[in-house]
């Protein structure tokens, strides 16, 4: 496992001077996935970036406690989750996700970590997007990429809101299957 080797390399460094370079590689490899994960938790762009940053800093400080038999991605997601809970406590108005949802998130994220050898989950996602049937792809494009909200996207595509919702749901399902098939 790549991550483990890298950590092992770090362990060889002297004193507290763990290798920043290796850590930076891990950051590069994992930050986008973690940002997506944090976004699923917070549903918010800015907060998710703050949380992931904080999590990396905590990880860097505590690198020596990282259990090398474990996967770096799930370790990081654990820290991200705790940072997220902390932010929930701060802003009492947000509500936490239930355990079931968290398990779904973790399952997907873990599976997608496995796509690293194939260029990473984002690259795979681009391939999968191309395989979507046209009407689903249009819905995804309008809603996710063109920045329309649900109602606007429905108007643009000239369909009912309910139809759009259904298409998005099918598209998400399709993409999940496609990503799963590859990992």
């Amino acid at each position: 496992m790549q991550a483990v080797e890298k950590i092992l390399n770090m362990k060889n460094q002297t004193d507290h001077g763990m290798d920043r370079k290796s850590f930076s590689i891990l950051v590069k490899e994992h930050h986008r996935g973690l940002l997506a994960y944090a976004r699923a938790l917070t549903k918010e762009d800015h907060t998710s970036r703050d949380i992931v940053q904080d999590a990396f800093v905590v990880a860097w400080r505590n690198l020596e406690t990282f259990d090398i038999t474990r996967d770096f991605g799930s370790w990081m997601r654990g820290i991200v989750r705790n940072k997220w809970r902390e932010s929930l406590r701060k802003n009492a108005r947000e509500t936490a996700l239930d355990d079931e949802t968290l398990e779904y998130l973790e399952a997907d994220a873990k599976q997608w970590d496995g796509l690293r050898d194939q260029g990473g989950v984002f690259t795979r996602l681009e391939l999968c997007l191309k395989k979507l049937p046209e009407n689903l792809a249009d819905a995804v494009k309008a809603f996710y990429y063109d920045g329309y909200n649900g109602a606007e996207a429905a108007t643009v595509l000239n369909v009912q809101s309910a139809t759009l919702r259904k298409r998005l749901e099918r598209a998400r399902g399709g993409l999940r299957d496609c990503l799963a098939a590859n990992s």
């Binding site: 970036r49 400080r61 259990d67 038999t69 973790e106 995804v140």
Partner: protein, 716 residues
């Protein structure tokens, strides 16, 4: 959405943001933080070495007790951060084993460092470069507010666990405590004075509850009064309703015949943008009066050339068609302050005036302030001195002026690591003390500045806002400037904080996260601290044969009377090294109507219709003349200002051909106008804002412009 779809949903959103590329901005900013971490760690390890020499025989038992308690608190905190306690994390047990291994190591380290702190305390007095004798600077008061580590053993030692626990986390352990009781007297005064200003927290109906602190200064703020505020609070969250904004009245179109001159003071504040960004990002409604367009424009940097001539700043004018009204022209006036290379920066005498009242007791306030100060500390050197005055139930000197040499740095860091908040606010006395310190340690020709960090729940006692503002203004005359850093939400008294810096030479920033703290302290403040010109006023004279009417965008509360321009006694804003200041005029081109539609006057002679002085000047292609007045930073009130002017020729350029800076700044202006529901927004839409922002993004090395585009997306 189905639960199992949530992750793919987030993945798509994240992909829409950056494709399959790295998030360069994220990585850069993280790397900076890690660099900083290494700095802190190194400092801690140096200390550790010296400690083993110093305090070997000192009260081992006591130290161990402290260490044990400290470790307990530390470990508990660490668990929540690191231990992965979800049920599906089967391997959590293994992790706890490595915790145990750590424990032994850390206990020794803790004991050593505890010893070190003790010995350090005993000689920290020597580090004070200046004896402090005023009774008001009672050390015991100071240490009550910012307890030394040994006085409060339940507090884990930041020094000790620096490597493992974040500074913020340290402070968090204070959070659950009730705020420290303040002296009865102060509390009583606080209760009395506060009640007249504070909105009762349970009140949600948004009825007219006046204009916060602003009532004495209505003239400056226009005639909006409290009405707008009441209306706004209805839709804003209760939280936001408690923040106070004074009503702004936008400038309207004016004819150059009736108002040939437009005069205003420069403004390098940026707080409004940060505040608006925070509200949008957290999904709150943005109160109209929190949007100060000039502060939004000036949040961003523009690439104007360095001044070449005798003046400390360059003036850059660009004219193009107005994106939101095809008939109109847009004139951008940009000033750029001379860059002063960091090494040539004069010595700084900084007095931090920190609000440690109970209301600062949250992650985005005091701990963030302390973290930001540490960033600044790295920039300072042995010529610079830092002192810290705290205020809450009582005020006190937490740190006498201390030079930032090797030892001083440690003393300051130690102080910063041990701040906590509690008690009510009494800023008035604290501010006195801060100025006293600044003057006592005044560096001639250097940077003398009081930096107020607060959430603005500022209880000035019986003196009132006005006398506070006057005081800041008076002190600025003597060469001590003020910067205000606003923190947090809910309590933020935006109106008063801005007013303090408007009148006194100073600036106001709002800090909502560490990245912003870095920007403010390093980019903005290091610039601001080296003031290169003060009382900078801009006056525009329009040529009535080329301009039918004009309107200044933003600067609603920065307008000056035409005669103030020549009046050396009238205060205006300052420009710091490297700062840019940008303003837009929206101009209706054409011949101004010579006879304004006013009924004949009954009791006085009809006003003489103004006539052009000089046919030649009027017939010239000049559209307008930009005039500037400024003083050197060390000038006194009596010093005559320096004046110079630039003439601007009309052209036919379209905005599509304008510079990236022009497009971007126009985008921010329009965004601000839309947020303020301005009637002048014309055909402007959020789509146009985005289009302009994209077109004007340029290199965007810090990602700030990209962030702006993201923000606009969010609003739409």
């Amino acid at each position: 959405m189905k639960n199992e779809d949530k992750m793919i949903d987030a993945l798509l959103q994240e992909h829409a943001r950056k494709g399959d590329k790295d998030d360069a901005e994220f990585i850069t900013s993280l790397e900076e933080r890690l660099d900083e971490e290494e700095g802190v760690v190194n400092l801690a390890s140096t200390k550790r070495r010296s400690s083993s020499k110093a305090g070997i025989g000192l009260g081992i038992a006591a130290a161990l007790t402290v260490a044990a308690v400290g470790y307990y608190g530390w470990n508990e905190k660490r668990e929540t951060d690191l231990a992965v306690n979800d049920s599906y994390e089967a391997e959590a047990q293994k992790a706890s084993i490595s915790h145990l291994e750590m424990q032994g190591r850390n206990e020794t380290r803790l004991a050593k460092t505890a010893l070190k702190s003790e010995s350090k305390l005993s000689h920290s007095g020597e580090k004070m470069k200046m004896a402090v004798s005023e009774p008001v600077m009672d050390e015991s008061v100071a240490s009550d507010l910012a307890p030394s580590p040994l006085a409060l053993p339940a507090v884990p030692k930041p020094r000790v666990s620096q490597k493992n626990v974040t500074k913020r986390e340290m402070t968090r352990s204070y959070e659950r405590k009730p705020s420290a009781p303040s002296s009865g007297m102060a509390k009583e005064i606080a209760a009395k004075t506060k009640s007249s200003f504070d909105v009762p927290s349970g009140r949600k109906d948004g009825l007219d509850f006046g204009n916060g602190w602003g009532s004495e200064d209505e003239d400056e703020d226009g005639d909006g009064g409290g009405g707008g505020f009441g209306r706004l609070s209805k839709k804003s969250k209760e939280n936001e309703a408690r923040s106070r904004y004074s009503a702004l009245t936008d400038n309207t179109f004016k004819s150059p015949w009736s108002d040939p001159l437009s005069t205003f003071s420069v403004d390098v504040d940026t707080a409004s943008y940060t505040n608006v960004r925070r509200m949008i990002q957290s999904g709150q409604a943005v109160p109209k009066d929190s949007v100060r367009i000039e502060e939004m424009i000036n949040y961003f940097n523009y690439s104007y050339p360095q001044p070449a001539g005798e003046h400390p700043f360059s003036v850059n004018v660009e004219t193009a068609s107005c994106p939101w009204n095809a008939e109109h022209r847009l004139v951008k006036i940009g000033l750029k302050g001379k860059d002063i290379i960091r090494e040539q920066r004069p010595a700084a005498n900084l007095v931090f005036l920190l609000d440690v009242s109970g209301s600062m007791n949250s992650q985005d306030k005091l701990p963030l302030l302390v973290d930001s100060m540490k960033i600044l500390l790295k920039e300072l050197n042995a010529d610079d001195s830092v002192s810290i005055v705290v205020y809450a139930g009582a005020q006190g000197l937490a740190l006498p002026p201390t030079y930032v040499d090797e030892n001083g740095r440690k003393v300051i860091l130690n102080k910063l690591n041990n701040f906590r908040s509690g008690g009510s606010t009494n800023g008035g006395a604290g501010i006195n003390l801060a100025y006293k310190m600044a003057k006592k340690h005044f560096v001639k020709g250097g940077v003398n500045r009081v930096i107020l960090g607060t959430d603005g729940d500022f209880n000035v006692g019986v003196t009132g806002t006005d006398s506070l503002v006057n005081m800041v203004e008076r002190e600025a005359k003597s060469g001590v400037f003020m910067s205000v850093l606003g923190f947090g939400q809910g309590n933020l008294n935006d109106n008063m904080l801005e007013k303090i810096t408007n009148k006194g030479n100073g600036n106001y920033f709002y800090i909502d996260n560490l990245r912003e703290g870095r920007k403010v302290f390093l980019d903005d403040m290091m610039g601001t601290m080296v003031t290169i010109a003060k009382d900078v006023k801009i006056q525009i004279e329009f040529n009535p044969t080329k301009v039918k009417s004009y309107r200044l965008i933003g600067y609603a509360n920065r307008m000056l009377k035409a005669e103030d321009f020549k009046n050396k006694l009238i205060d205006a804003g300052e420009i710091g090294s490297g700062h840019t200041v940008t303003a837009f005029y929206e101009v209706v081109p054409g011949n101004a109507n010579q006879t304004p539609a006013v009924d004949d006057l009954e009791y006085q002679k009809k006003r003489v219709v103004p006539k052009p002085v000089n046919r030649e000047a009027v017939d010239s292609p000049n559209m307008l003349t930009v005039k500037l007045a400024y003083k050197q930073p060390e000038a006194t009130k009596e010093t005559e200002s320096t004046y110079f002017r630039t003439r601007v020729v009309a052209n036919e350029k379209t905005w599509q051909d304008a510079s990236a800076d022009f497009k971007f700044a126009a985008s921010v202006s329009l965004f601000g106008m839309l947020q303020r529901q301005s009637e002048h927004a014309g055909q402007g839409t959020y789509q146009l804002v985005r289009k302009l922002a994209e077109a004007g993004r340029g290199d965007d090395p810090k990602g700030l412009r990209t962030e702006f585009s993201d923000l606009v997306r969010k609003v739409k």
